[in-house]
Symmetry: none
Subunit: 393 residues, 2 copies
């Protein structure tokens, strides 16, 4: 593709993105078939007397979308941001898999209609989109996170970044912000996927956080600079978080949390669905526990090791199975353990007495007690055996 | 069985239980085949030169097991306790299902060898064993429970008892004790399954708890009065807790907690395996979370409602299968039922019309409709068939 047709494509995609809210399946499919410039041309010429035209609705004919797109691109440049399109090398093509879930329409969930891949993405920050998102995990959860959830999110963000995984989230209060901050604290990569323009700080108190991300990571959005964080946009945005990363971890979620929608998307895309449990007494973990009770395959994770085991390649990032402290005595054969149980601290017992107390064959006691004494588990006395002095126990 | 042979059986079972630690598969099988009295006789006469004799080991020949059994029974009577055997009406026969898991021998777990049903049970308390355990749930967990786990155990014990479910546990510190106490606080039934004699308070600080249980619930053990709580006995005991109840709930468990073994047994017996999650920062929930991550089907529960949902379903398998009233029509062949479904109340349909509506071959309709009319399910009219008058339906 020549530079000029490349620029045409970018302009057309931005214009189309202004005409129709992101995620529209009909638009994405037509653009994939005919290219963005021709689809825009046709739409403006009134070629498409169909649901695509209906989707564009009132915006069609209000202003000239090409002029608006030019202005948006100019504003983007002034911001030090850029518009990335699928025709660019840095486009993260895992997002294109979203087209596969458009046909999973769930009538109960109208948002499912808006699951098509983005037409373009605004990006602000020094990293290439494809590289930043290649090894990434989404860490999302409750805005009203408890201290438990907030600390865990930060710890997980830190741990992932420390092991060279990028942390993707939505920049919201609570879990999202703490996950981003954890990654930054570890000197790692974090990507904020916004539901408004990359020049807007929403929430406003995250102005400093987003500035830091713009310096070291990436601010990403499907909407042009200046776009407002309308409520429906968060749900549309969530599919990008799920599709961009190898798996989604929900740290805390109340019963109807939006983060569970992100998790659902991850599952639809065959990405790992992960949930951190919490106290059953906490309202902030109700959604997590319900998810773990649901028939949808979801992996319980308690930390970074479990997350990497799930998203990492098989066999490489296997989490160690936790064990309690092991005592030398735990390695004894069951009969030996039973013999030891039957010994007393002070009063020596004969082999036969020990066998009777332990309920094991006498010959086993004769054979094993001297060996246990030799290994320090028991002590030999003139008239039998007592419990060992603990040297090796 | 006559009273005297009944008493012989009880004496023999107690004697055999003294000779061989509970759970021995060979002994249980032989007793099931030949009756306890004959097996004891043979063993004392030296008939069994095999692993059964080996299992009895040093205890064989040490004292007269019959005299010891007499003494144990006398001591039991003086305690106000009783020995319950499978020949008694109050035997909880769900325990006999344990024989089914003896062949699941897991070489890595030597305890699997001791999974046979109990030969007899000591019981202390006013309730019948079978009735107390019929609608019961095991609530087990860490001895070193956190305040979170202890409170949950108590709340769950209370909630189950409040809804007429008995709470079974092991009487240990922490989760076990709090579950028992919760049930008592609700005025409900609780059953302590001990790993020592029913006259011993282990741990000693639970003396008052056990006295209360002996008054309102049941203290149960496979070991005679005076028997010591040897370590291996807890694992042997756990299978009784799992088998007696419809499901096992683990409230808190460290990485190598014995309560996970009870849970495993419950699964082997097709009882519900349930686990309460907790903060991932708590060592006392590590075992719970590992269980929820394992491939073994385990249900996450956060409270009594979830537990009852799980064991309520299981109850259908254990109790006689509840059915609605049966209609004669339920016994018809599927094709006949489809033909009946296709008939109308007033308008007669020809055989061919019925066949078409029912989606069955025409010749089946020709053959079966007259027979259905003969049996009163359908009625013949001049121009076909209508629904029967209900005489026999």
């Amino acid at each position: 593709m020549s530079p000029s047709s490349h620029d045409d494509a970018r302009l057309a995609r931005v214009a189309l993105g202004w005409l129709v809210e992101p995620g529209n399946q009909a638009l994405w499919t037509r653009v994939a078939e005919h290219g963005p410039a021709r689809v825009l041309e046709g739409l403006l010429a009134g070629d498409h007397l169909d649901r695509l035209r209906r989707a564009a609705g009132a915006r069609l004919g209000a202003d000239d979308p090409r002029q608006l797109a030019e202005a948006a691109l100019e504003r983007t440049r002034r911001l030090g941001a850029r518009v990335v399109i699928p025709e660019d090398d840095e486009w993260p093509h895992q997002l294109d898999q979203l087209i596969g879930i458009c046909d999973l329409h769930d009538k109960a969930d109208p948002v499912d209609r808006d699951a098509a891949p983005p037409l373009c993405l605004w990006a602000r920050g020094p990293l290439r989109l494809d590289e930043a998102l290649d090894r990434s995990v989404a860490v999302v959860g409750a805005r009203a996170a408890s201290e438990y959830g907030a600390q865990l999110a930060q710890r997980i963000g830190y741990g992932l970044a420390e092991r060279d995984w990028a942390v993707v989230s939505g920049g919201a209060y609570g879990v999202d912000a703490r996950a981003h901050r954890g990654a930054l604290a570890a000197g790692g990569v974090t990507v904020v996927v916004l539901a408004c323009g990359v020049d807007r700080a929403y929430p406003a108190s995250h102005t400093n956080l987003f500035e830091r991300v713009a310096e070291d990571g990436l601010l990403v959005s499907e909407w042009p600079p200046g776009a407002e964080p309308f409520r429906h946009r968060f749900l549309i945005r969530n599919r990008v978080i799920a599709a961009a990363s190898r798996g989604t971890v929900v740290v805390e979620a109340s019963a109807r949390s939006g983060s569970l929608q992100t998790l659902r998307r991850a599952g639809q895309l065959n990405r790992c669905r992960m949930v951190v449990p919490g106290p059953v007494t906490s309202a902030m973990s109700v959604g997590c526990h319900e998810q773990l009770r649901s028939p949808e395959p979801t992996t319980l994770v308690t930390g970074v090791a479990h997350i990497l085991e799930a998203v990492g390649k098989m066999g490489i990032d296997l989490a160690p199975v936790p064990r309690g402290p092991e005592h030398p005595r735990d390695r004894l054969a069951p009969t030996e353990q039973r013999l030891l149980e039957a010994l007393l601290i002070r009063k020596p017992l004969s082999s036969d007495e020990v066998a009777t107390r332990a309920g094991v064959p006498a010959q086993d006691a004769w054979r094993l007690l001297p060996s246990l004494a030799y290994r320090g588990f028991a002590q030999r006395r003139a008239h039998g055996f007592i419990i060992g002095d603990g040297r090796d126990r």
